[in-house]
Structure formats: structure tokens, C-alpha cells
Symmetry: C2
Subunit: 500 residues, 2 copies
């Protein structure tokens, strides 16, 4: 690695009578501090013009120039302040050149904010930056840019590769009752109605089916395993997504939440007047009158719970923490077109979270999977399978790979949809997953155990729309054909609303 | 009323050889059509310059100039098109002057989009518009502007007047267990945690209390009265608020929902890069990359159900329709500061809706109020009162007034909060309401009955946060002091999560 920083220190006044070269020589110990002998930052060139000291600072891996320049600043401030009453007003950098080796050769061009030039010769990268301010140098942006270049190259190599997928278990084939698309049929019967973009109104009949599924989850999983209900906000603020890692990605799938700039009716009078006169909503004017997004609507459901634990040390007697939330909708801006209720912009999920020592988390993960297996086999009588896949959080951050030990990672639950074609050739519906997320969240939100051992956590989201699609696609819409364990819990379906 | 429109018709070519004055005389029957004799629109002045015909059209109340000019356009198009192959390319209006009487004298200045001048002499108003296009004239904007001027004056007179409030019933005073603010105490104990701006995480203990209240509503109100659950979207699109009337107001209290302009990760790469380099979310750049709002998060809970019925005729056997929704959160941008959980930006509500013939709706409204009375008296043992108030939808649209017959309107349920001071001097908490909304929604969404008789509807929203505040403010946080009917249904409180 080779760093070359051309920068200037601007002093509060001219340095007449100061032996600046002497001071710079004297500073060499400060600049080298912490680096192996001879490998620290050094001043390769210096020139004083009135109150401006132009410098070229170079280094290898250690005591990099963007750090060194602040060490030098402190050193000179102390030396000059007391004796000459001179301060350093500003640090500017005209040019910063970094030469380093990347882990793999890039496959195509890489660009990035702040970078004037990124060029490669095999694995050798030259990164050039210009006109950097104090904040840029101080914020350690350079190291993050180097990491980001490696990350981008890594992504180029992943491109086109699927996520990891490894079958764990598969039920026997089951004879489906029909082979129709249940969304279409439910829509035809008026059980559901499409709204907006991937939002649906669920009428009384399908809501009863959905709530019965939820009751089964409570009876057969949450109660036996002693999970307690909590209520997690559905507005997710940026601080949460910074800590959960979602801020690294996902911008294309968020429904952003923007508050008004003011609550004052006078501030909105023009908007209401235009609406009352024209009958049209002045959307452009409204966009001017709202603030930038404070975050967005719930995407993954558990991250906004974590502030409840953030920065705290949890007593052993409370571990493992076992909670679930079913207090509201999640929203995702999904790819266009209507896909029935198996891919929707607004959906309903029971989110289950557990937090504890690694063995507690692993054990619960296994128990939850076993409880699901019983529900799907004994009550819903589904044709389904489980696969070990790229952990969802890596998939969401655009990464692939998985834990060979199969401790940290995600199990996807997939159901066969007869209306999509043969078992072998069609895509199965992922209707469920269950993840051991390892230390990701306790680390991200700085949650500590009493014994100082690293905490782990897991989560599993039950997408109720997808359970319904999996079930009805195999079993049809007539309760006569539904398994008895489900019918017993369902009771009578409510009457449909009849239209003329 | 006196209308004077100065406008021009632009023809596709010059009108040499056309007896335009003859045609204009001939058009007078068309302009007067539908108006009492001598009161229709008339052409007060006309001048042809090459391919432009300048007109001054006047009228009283009938056949107003902005209508008349299109009648004239059709008349001339027919006469000129066939014989001279001349078409009318454009209608422009330089100036439109409307003189009319308003219902009450204004108390201060009124301004409005599109209006060049609004002046009053007592109740006489002169409204002047300039440079109007085809869309403006065609869209009947003028009539809406006249209505809006009257509405604004009406509001000036209401200003400062409170909403209507009339006590219907009041329970006996009950000795409160304590006089502390339950939100503060719950926060201190870690039962709840404040997040963002008026959002809260509810831990296991308080969630159990909330769900017990919900169960009581199901057991003691929804089941006995045969309400069926439905699931209503929580993203509310503009079309809904146009029909529900909310688009006339409320912009200052909405959390707006903005989708991304694109799902493409490449489109968002600059945002993710900047975040990864600086550690800060570039909110300004994000605002550029999102669309204008498609609407906002659920404010009133029932409007987005109505599209399920929109434009339909409901069979008598399905009436009254009785449904409820508890599928997600509502959001309101509330006034600043933290008010505990009694005033929050994100809250949880069971919304109950009924639709039927007027007598069915009135009867159900009464039955629901009786069931509430039993719950509050016999299970929650609250000190509370009911008042007949300005209907919520009028209040939300900034209107006051109420139905003297007390059929259409809202009952507010209010609870005494001992921590706020004496019964007489402090404000009670509105923790509940129940409304007969009359024909508002069936008309707004064009929902018809089999017998063609006008349908009515009612709704009642149970704000669970407010039930909790009302209950705990009177009964304290120790279950020992809670009424037995509530404790029986609650069972054991779950353990709190313990922190070191």
C-alpha cells in the first residue's frame, strides 16, 4: 500500500521567524508513532508560502497520511500556539493518491462517489481523490472506500451466481385437489380485492382462514415454547436500519415515510384550495411541502424491536428472550405486475424473535423448525420442503455464501403450487423461513450478556398471505376438501357479502 | 349574480366571407337554452380579427359564460366546419369577472389559487380571474371557487368556537388508586420505550394488558353482535381520500408514503456508496430518488375498506354489513412533544364498521354504545362519561355544527385522568368514540341498496393505547388493585425482561 497526500495547513497568520523545517523534522517521531520502524508516515516535501504550508505526506500501510496530518496539526498547534500565538485555521487536501492491492481482479469498471479516478493494473489499484475537506479526512472515509472497492469487485464475481440452496427435508408428494391459482379464484368470488399496487382488501371469509392459521401458530408453537407478545413500531427510523445493516442496501424496495413540514392548516391551504377547485390532488406541490423521509415502513419486522435492548446488559434469568409481534403490516415495493397475494406490497406477518447464548439460540431454532414440521404435516397436510440457504441478511445485503457448520443461516420452507406446473419444473413458493442470525443483531445494537459471552439471536417470519396461498393452491377453496385438523379449528366460515 | 367573460375563439384560418355576426345572432337560442326567458347567457360584444373572434359573454345565474362559450363553440364548429372547412383550434379567456352575493359578510381578507382579485362590499363579492385555459373553463372550477369563498367565510365565523359538546351520561365518581401519569411510570419500569416521534415499543407486560382489552372487545361486543373480521390495507391511496372527504383537509397530519422511483440497485448505488463511505444516510439525495406520495399511512381506519363495496348494490340479505379490522397501525403526525402513550404518532385501533338501512344503522349504534357501557362499568370499572359531539368527519374537515335529531353524529367516551388534576378542572381523555355517519360513506363511494333506499353507515374506533391510559391512570400498575373481571381475563402477567 502506498499513500500520497498533497495537503495544506492554513495558519492564522504568517510564520515569519519560525523554524518550520526544524519543527517538521521534530514531528517525525509523532508521525511514525505506532508503525513498525521506518514504515510510518513521512513528510516527503514541504513548502511554506506566507501563512500556508504545502505538504506532501506519504506512507505505507501504517500511520496513513489522513491520520498523520491531524497528528501533525496537533503537534504544530502546541508548538506554535504557546510561543508564537499562531493557530491552524484549516486543513485542505488538493489530491490524495492511494495505491493498493485488491483481493481479486475486477471484471469491469468501478465508480464511486468522491473518487476522481479508479484504475487497475491486474490487482494493483490506483485510487485518486481531489479537493478533500476536514470532514472527509477526519471521518476515515478512505479506509471505507478501499473496503468498498473490494466489496464491489466481490459482487462482480458473484453476479449471476444463485444463492446457496441445499435441500434438507422433503415431504411425500400429495395429490392436489385442484390446479388453479387461488388468488384468481378468490378474486373472482370476491373474497379478496386488489387495491393500489400490491395491496389487497381481505373480506370476511379469507380473513377467518388467515386468523385460524395465526391461532394455530399460537396454539402449536408460541404457547408451547413460551413466547410472549410485544408490539414493535411499524415506522422504522434511519437509526434502526443503520444498526441492522439494512441501510447498506434495500433503498429500491422501501416505502418511504415523509412527515409534513408543518401541521399548520394555513401552510396547507393552497393544497386544499386547489383540490377543492380542481378535484385533483396537487401531488407535486405536496412533495414540496413534505420533509425528506425519516425512514420507511416496516420491511424486516424485528429490527425496530432491538432499540428496546440497545446498549443494555441482559440478566441471565431473562435469557433466552422469546418474543413475537403481529401488530401491523410490512411493506415492500415489489417488482411490477400483480402476482396474486403471494407477492404483495403490503403483507401480514407474525414475526418471532429469540435472543440468548449461542447454544440457547441454536436449540430454539431447532425446536421451532420441529414445531413447524408438525403444523405443516399434521394440521395443514402440505406438500413442502426445507432448504438451507444463504442467510437472508446476506441475501438482502447482496452477498452470498453460507456457514458450512450450518449454525448461522436460514432455512427456507417451500410449498409446491400445483397451478404453476410440475413439481420438478416449476418454482416452489417460499412461504416461511427460520434463521439463526448469529451475533449480527446483538453486535449491531450492542446488546450484552451478563457473562460477557457474545449473544446470538434468531428470527422467523410467518407470512400469512403465503401460508394461505400454499394451503389453498393445494387444497382448493372448498372446506370439504380441507384436512380435519384445520377444519376443526376453523369452525364455520362467515357468510360472504352478496352483491346484486 | 353577474358573470362577464372576455374570451377569444381561435379558428384554424381566417373567416373571410363568413357572416359571423349573423351566426352569433343565430346562436342566441343555444346560449339561452335551459334558462328562464331573458336570463340566459348573451354576447355583449364581439370583434373578429383575422382568425380570432374576441367575445364578451355575460349572464346572470343561468347558462353561465364558461358553459355558454362551449355551446357557442359547438354551434359554430358545426356551421363553419361543413360549409367553410374551418375548425376552432382554441378557446382562451383573458378575464372573467363574477359578481355575486355571499351568505355572510367576511371577517377578513380571502385569497385563493387562480383568483386575481377577491373584493367585498358588504355581502357583494367581486371575483376576478385572468388567463384561463380550456381545462379551467371546462372543469367548472368557477362554481367551486364560489362555494369555496362561502366556505372560507363560514370558517372565519366558526373560528374560536369550540366543537359541540353535550353530556349524555356520566358514571359515579370512583376513588382512584393513585394519581400518577401511567406512561411515565411504565417508561420508568421499562414496560414501554419511546422511539422516533411518538412511536413506542410495547414490552411483554403492557402488550398482555392491551391484548386482554382486545379480547374483551371480541368477547363482549364483536361476538355477541356478530361482527366479522376483515383486513383493510394500511397504505391509503389518494382515490380513497378523495371519496372519503379527507382530501379536503388533513394534509398537516399525514405520514406520506413515497415509493422509490426505481427498484434497480444501480439506481441506488450512489446512495449506498455514500452511506458506506460516510456512515450517514444522504436524505436529500434520497428525496430526489423517490416519487411524490401515492397517499399516506392509515389515518382514519375504515375509508380504505370502502372500495370493497364501491359502485356495488348490496343484497338485502347481507345487510346490515358488520365488520371490524385490527390488522395494523394508524399514524398521525401529532403536535410536538411527548405526551406519553395517550397522544402518539403511531397507534393501534380496533375499527368497527356497520352499514345498512338508516334504522339498522341507528339501532346498531345504540346497541354498540350499550355494550361499551357494560364493558366500562362491569369489567374495567372506569370513571367515564359520554358526550354528543360534532361528528368527527365534520371536525376533521374543519366544520362544526351537529344534527339536532341526534341520529347522525358522534358520541365521545371520555375518562377521568386523576394525574391531570381535579375532575372538574382538568381535561378528560377521549378514549373512544362511536359514530353514526349517515349517508356520508355510501354516497361518497356510491354504494347502493337493493331497494334503492339510501344506505347509512357507522363506525367506532377503539384506541387501545387510550384504553390502557384510561384504565391504568385510574387503577395503577399493580394487578392487585385491578377489578376482578379484568384480572380473570388477564391471567398472569408475563415476566419483565431484566437488565443489569
Amino acid at each position: 500500500m502506498k499513500f500520497t497526500l498533497n495537503c495544506s495547513l492554513i495558519f492564522s497568520k504568517g510564520l515569519e521567524g519560525v523554524d518550520i523545517q526544524g519543527l517538521l523534522r521534530e514531528s517525525s517521531a509523532v508521525l511514525a508513532k505506532g508503525a513498525p520502524r521506518g514504515e510510518g508516515a513521512r513528510i516527503a516535501r514541504s513548502e511554506l508560502k506566507d501563512n500556508r504550508l504545502d505538504l506532501m505526506i506519504t506512507s505505507g500501510r501504517y500511520a496513513r497520511p489522513h491520520d498523520a496530518v491531524f497528528r501533525l496539526k496537533n503537534f504544530l498547534s502546541e508548538k506554535l500556539g504557546r510561543k508564537y500565538r499562531v493557530g491552524i485555521r484549516e486543513i485542505r487536501a488538493d489530491r490524495y493518491r492511494i495505491e493498493f492491492d485488491v483481493e481479486r481482479e475486477p471484471k469491469k469498471k468501478i465508480s464511486m462517489p468522491f473518487a476522481k479516478r479508479i484504475e487497475f493494473d491486474g490487482k494493483r489499484c490506483v485510487l485518486e481523490l481531489q479537493n478533500l475537506d476536514h470532514e472527509f479526512l477526519r471521518g476515515n472515509y478512505v479506509d471505507r472506500m478501499i473496503n468498498l472497492i473490494n466489496e464491489k469487485i466481490e459482487k462482480q464475481h458473484y453476479e449471476g451466481k444463485g444463492e446457496h440452496w441445499e435441500l434438507i427435508w422433503q415431504s411425500k408428494p400429495k395429490e392436489p385437489v385442484w390446479n388453479k391459482d387461488p388468488s384468481r379464484e378468490m378474486e373472482r368470488r370476491g373474497w379478496i380485492m386488489h387495491r393500489g399496487r400490491g395491496q389487497w382488501i381481505f373480506g370476511p371469509v379469507v380473513t377467518k382462514i388467515m386468523r385460524t392459521m395465526e391461532d394455530i401458530v399460537v396454539e402449536k408453537l408460541l404457547n408451547p415454547l413460551n413466547f410472549d407478545e410485544v408490539i414493535i413500531p411499524k415506522a422504522v427510523t434511519w437509526d434502526v436500519w443503520k444498526r441492522s445493516g439494512h441501510a447498506k442496501n434495500l433503498y429500491g424496495e422501501i416505502y418511504y415515510l415523509c412527515p409534513p413540514r408543518s401541521r399548520d392548516p394555513g401552510f396547507w391551504e393552497e393544497v386544499t384550495d386547489i383540490y377543492k377547485i380542481t378535484g385533483e390532488i396537487p401531488e407535486k406541490l405536496i412533495k414540496e411541502k413534505i420533509r425528506g423521509p425519516i425512514g420507511g415502513m416496516c420491511y424486516a419486522q424485528c429490527p425496530p424491536f432491538w432499540p428496546y435492548l440497545e446498549g443494555k446488559t441482559i440478566a441471565d434469568e431473562s435469557l433466552p428472550i422469546k418474543i413475537f409481534d403481529r401488530s401491523g403490516t410490512s411493506m415492500r415495493y415489489e417488482s411490477g405486475g400483480i402476482h396474486g397475494i403471494e407477492r404483495v406490497d403490503e403483507f401480514h406477518r407474525v414475526e418471532i424473535v429469540w435472543i440468548g447464548y449461542p447454544d440457547q439460540v441454536k436449540k430454539l431454532h431447532g425446536e421451532i423448525v420441529e414445531h413447524y414440521r408438525k403444523i405443516f404435516n399434521e394440521i395443514l397436510d402440505l406438500e413442502w420442503r426445507m432448504a438451507w440457504v444463504t442467510p437472508w441478511f446476506m441475501a438482502q445485503e447482496g452477498l452470498t455464501g453460507f456457514d458450512e457448520k450450518k449454525e448461522v443461516g436460514t432455512i427456507d420452507f417451500e410449498a409446491y403450487l400445483p397451478y404453476k406446473g410440475s413439481r420438478e419444473e416449476s418454482e416452489w413458493l417460499e412461504f416461511q423461513n427460520a434463521s439463526n442470525n448469529g451475533d449480527k443483531y446483538p453486535k449491531g445494537f450492542n446488546v450484552k450478556s451478563q457473562g460477557r459471552e457474545q449473544l446470538h439471536s434468531g428470527c422467523t417470519g410467518i407470512g400469512l398471505e403465503r401460508w394461505i396461498v400454499a394451503f389453498l393452491a393445494q387444497k382448493g377453496l372448498d372446506p370439504e376438501n380441507w384436512p380435519s385438523g384445520f377444519r376443526k379449528r376453523l369452525g364455520e366460515l362467515p357468510p360472504e357479502i352478496k352483491f346484486l
